[in-house]
Symmetry: C2
Subunit: 201 residues, 2 copies
């Protein structure tokens, strides 16, 4: 069987990426429930039938966005954190990398963070949970190491990690990329609040 | 004209409250776009026609939920903060009151916080913006006063206020009331992180 251009892996990948990018923006702007597969197909310039060649349904598109985004966020942050030495530095690198990733992937990240319906397929839920938990675990381990090394006081790593991720995740609700400050700059300030506190002391 | 039971103000108010409570839970659980006026009417035990006697449309129901919730949150928090004397105490009271309100009004607060579509009517948007801005302004003023009184270091009140509200607002995405810890307890820990920092100092 001849391999047609349409079946070459790089082109399929490219087309898939395009569909996911368009779908993420629509989900983030209009909400998952309001967007129909037809809307996604139209905006990519494909027929609905052709789009179904790439993805089974809207749930599969959404699951791919969520899982891909969480995986990349987790791995990019791990890479960045590995360059730091102290726990204080690791915490700041974690927050900056997270915010930079958010800004560079604003539609997929927003669709992932604000997705209300959640994932319907159990195997998709499991995969997403794996990356989300690993990312959460990473910030907890940074806090635990900081306590063990005497850099941080005896705080609860679970609550501390959640506070940090809350400030990063809530950016999906207010951050405007067209504004003068980068998301990573806000993250630096946040990191500083967590590290130093508001205390004058 | 005889006043029928249905027209007496307290009963109308009560019925309105019931509709808003049911609608908020449906919006929070299923997303604004998926919920139809018919679903709300059914769950309250009213016909769709009777429900339209109380509210013009779904947008009006949602606007009432958002505005009422923001107004109450702002006023209850102001009341609580007025009992505190130092800026440190005010900051902690603000966060605790906010989290307690969230837990006691979990459906309306979640519908308000996660509402993706936003408010369509300009006058509803203005009202919601008024209460949201006043609430944000309140936490900024606490920080500014803390800096002026020498309790806090020279931090940016806008960014500090946003960090605080982010940790509180993100509860709408993860907090489970059936768990062992109250939302206000998490808020106390968060307040402590902001006040003291993670620093062993």
């Amino acid at each position: 069987m001849a391999i047609t251009a349409d079946n070459e892996i790089p082109e399929i990948k490219e087309r898939e990426r395009e569909i996911l990018a368009v779908a993420a923006q629509l989900f983030a702007q209009d909400g998952f429930e309001t967007v129909a597969v037809r809307n996604i197909a139209e905006k990519v310039g494909l027929s609905k039938a052709t789009l179904y060649h790439y993805f089974k349904d809207k749930d599969e598109i959404y699951a791919r966005i969520v899982i891909d985004t969480l995986e990349k966020l987790c791995l990019i942050t791990e890479e960045k954190v590995a360059e730091a030495s102290t726990a204080r530095e690791k915490l700041a690198y974690f927050m900056e990398a997270n915010a930079r990733f958010f800004e560079e992937n604003i539609w997929t990240a927003t669709a992932m963070l604000l997705g209300l319906g959640g994932l319907k397929q159990p195997h998709a839920r499991d995969k997403a949970a794996y990356w989300r938990d690993r990312h959460e675990q990473n910030i907890r381990q940074i806090i635990e190491a900081g306590i063990a090394q005497g850099e941080f006081r005896e705080i609860d790593p679970v609550v501390g990690g959640r506070a940090i991720l809350s400030t990063l995740n809530w950016m999906a609700r207010w951050y405007k990329p067209e504004g003068p400050r980068r998301a990573a700059e806000f993250a630096q300030d946040y990191a500083n609040f967590f590290l130093e506190g508001f205390n004058r002391g």
